[in-house]
Symmetry: C2
Subunit: 368 residues, 2 copies
């Protein structure tokens, strides 16, 4: 098995939560026959800027390109609020997505039963919630050119971003969504604004055609992105897989994640196209939550989203389904036992630190 993991902990709570994953990898290397990961580590975001003056160094980009999977923590924080646009912390993440060709961002929003009470929503609306947002990640307004601020004659400025999609970009993300739907409840909802955006018109057209030609047995519905955001609040369980562009995916997945009451628990996978020869795809795994600079270093960070992201790597990059299921089971078990980091603590919970949570997950892995 090709087994190179490249770790980019990043900023804020990134390093702390990555530490817990490292402990789990060490334990797996020592105890599971199927597993012998080789780990390398680099810098990204503000910490890369502090070290190299760039949001990621060329050397680390090279390592990310050749790794079997990248595990990414989180980037950003007030410390870097004023660094130039080209080297801001997020630029590292965006470059990784673009240069690795990670066009398919999978964001499960699921409500852990033990945490249904933590949602802002009424319990009955989120209990059992299990949505998958499939977000296009290398196109749209994130990367379209021109993307610039220019000076106008009268001293004013003019800022432009370009929302750009081609047929093939929409086709491939649509297929990812339908393929995943077939492993789930077999329903796809496509969100766009075809009533306002030409990219939405093309989006709807292509998704409709792929659905009709290639996935006849999977029901497809179209929903305007603004209405989708509303419906997520009104009745999220109506959705199974939601497919959408980069910018709508950014917002809708954050709404969906917050609904679950499990924000600190939610992983994500960003996948490239399978290589024609080897069938292997580049991939990056990261928590949905951000770098939470306000709690960095306090031991309050929840490592579960990062651990679950590693679980997604086991599944999607290494085909280690049994081991991926072990990780998921270990997470469920610690929750069932009442262990909580501060972000998900309710009254009477057994509040533990980041590292205690990691240790508890390992203890569960041992016990499985």
């Amino acid at each position: 098995m090709s087994n190179k993991l490249f770790l980019l902990p990043g900023d804020g709570i990134g390093p702390e939560i990555m530490d817990e994953v490292k402990k789990i990898i060490e334990w797996m290397n020592a105890n599971l026959d199927a597993i012998s990961f080789e780990i390398d580590e680099g810098k990204v975001g503000g910490s890369a800027y502090d070290a190299h003056g760039a949001a990621i160094s060329e050397e680390d980009m090279e390592k990310a390109m050749t790794a079997d999977a990248v595990l990414f923590g989180a980037v950003g924080g007030p410390k870097w609020a004023d660094v130039p646009y080209e080297v801001r912390p997020e630029a590292g993440l965006l470059r990784l997505r673009k240069d690795l060709g990670l066009f398919a961002n999978l964001r499960p929003a699921l409500c852990y039963p033990a945490l249904a009470d933590a949602s802002s929503l009424k319990k009955e609306l989120v209990e059992g919630l299990d949505i998958l947002i499939v977000r296009e990640l290398t196109g749209g307004v994130y990367f379209g050119e021109p993307k610039e601020i220019t000076d106008l004659p009268d001293g004013q400025k003019r800022a432009v971003d370009t929302q750009l999609y081609t047929t093939s970009e929409i086709e491939r993300i649509t297929r990812v969504a339908f393929d995943l739907a077939k492993t789930r409840s077999n329903r796809v909802s496509s969100a766009e604004k075809h009533n306002v955006m030409k990219s939405g018109v093309l989006w709807k057209e292509v998704v409709t055609r792929i659905g009709a030609e290639e996935y006849k047995n999977t029901p497809l519905e179209h929903v305007l992105a603004d209405n989708c955001a509303m419906q997520l609040v009104r009745n999220p369980k109506q959705y199974d897989v939601i497919v959408c562009d980069n910018l709508f995916g950014d917002i809708l997945s954050d709404v969906a994640a917050m609904l679950t009451g499990s924000l600190g628990m939610l992983p994500s996978a960003s996948l490239g196209a399978p290589d024609a020869a080897s069938g292997k795809r580049k991939a990056l795994y990261e928590p949905v939550h951000g770098s939470a600079p306000d709690i960095a270093g306090t031991g309050a960070a929840n490592p579960i989203a990062m651990v679950a992201s590693f679980g997604m790597a086991l599944r999607y990059s290494f085909g280690l389904i049994k081991e991926a299921e072990m990780v998921d089971a270990a997470i469920s078990n610690v929750l069932d036992k009442g262990l909580r980091t501060r972000d998900i603590a309710t009254e009477g919970a057994n509040v533990v630190t980041t590292s205690e949570m990691g240790d508890a997950i390992i203890a569960e892995l041992k016990a499985l």
Copy 2:
């Protein structure tokens, strides 16, 4: 008093809810000294397309341009799903916004106390909620050029929309937001994605400067649009005024509206710049909800958002503050008496039809 109201009921439930406003206007004309409105009516959206082959006729555009205020119902429905892009129902609304220069869209999201139970959110999170979203309405990706679908050599298509903002466009909407904040809880939150979009960089820069130079005493915070969507779900009461661009405003205002449990109750105002000579501004008032074609004609539509939109017209276009307050009070009173249209009915409610609700509001106006 200049007193020309132009009514564009539109499609779906639009005409039904507009009928209730007409009854109220008639009553006011007959009974309130300050008021003598002259009413004219036109077509917009699918019904205009059916009549004229355009989403709004030139004649009706002309009437909208010369009216003191436009009252707009709602547009769209499955009947017009396949009409050409240029004449789709929404094109009528977009043209009105653009040609009338209605750059400032005010969307209050407030939770009527009697309806706190109807929210998806836990009651304590929305009780007393009172947010105002100030959305830029004539710029951004809605109107930027190029906006087109082109054919690529290989049979593929390429769709482009352009997100475009200039300094002055951001300045004027920022001032609207700060001016309104001063009449409320005096806090402004500006939402953008400066970490990804150049328009976000300029947005943040301009809002920061206007805040510092002209509104020193109003606290300003910046929030990423995706995080803002999350925070609206997590803890909406943290916000007072949120200012944002056209597309983020579309989505954030829908989330905010849905939180309140009062979607069928929420009005909006779209305002132009005051005329240099007369000080008068063009304006259009419309409910936040859509045309709800599924319930059109059943008497289930809630006319309150439309009536409240007329209330906003009294306030913002005619300076009839006392009369605007009468409308708001009449709405509160019918709710306090337990009258509910189906969309907001909870157990044991006194469920009434669209027109019974309108009559009840008039009865309250009489009693004030």
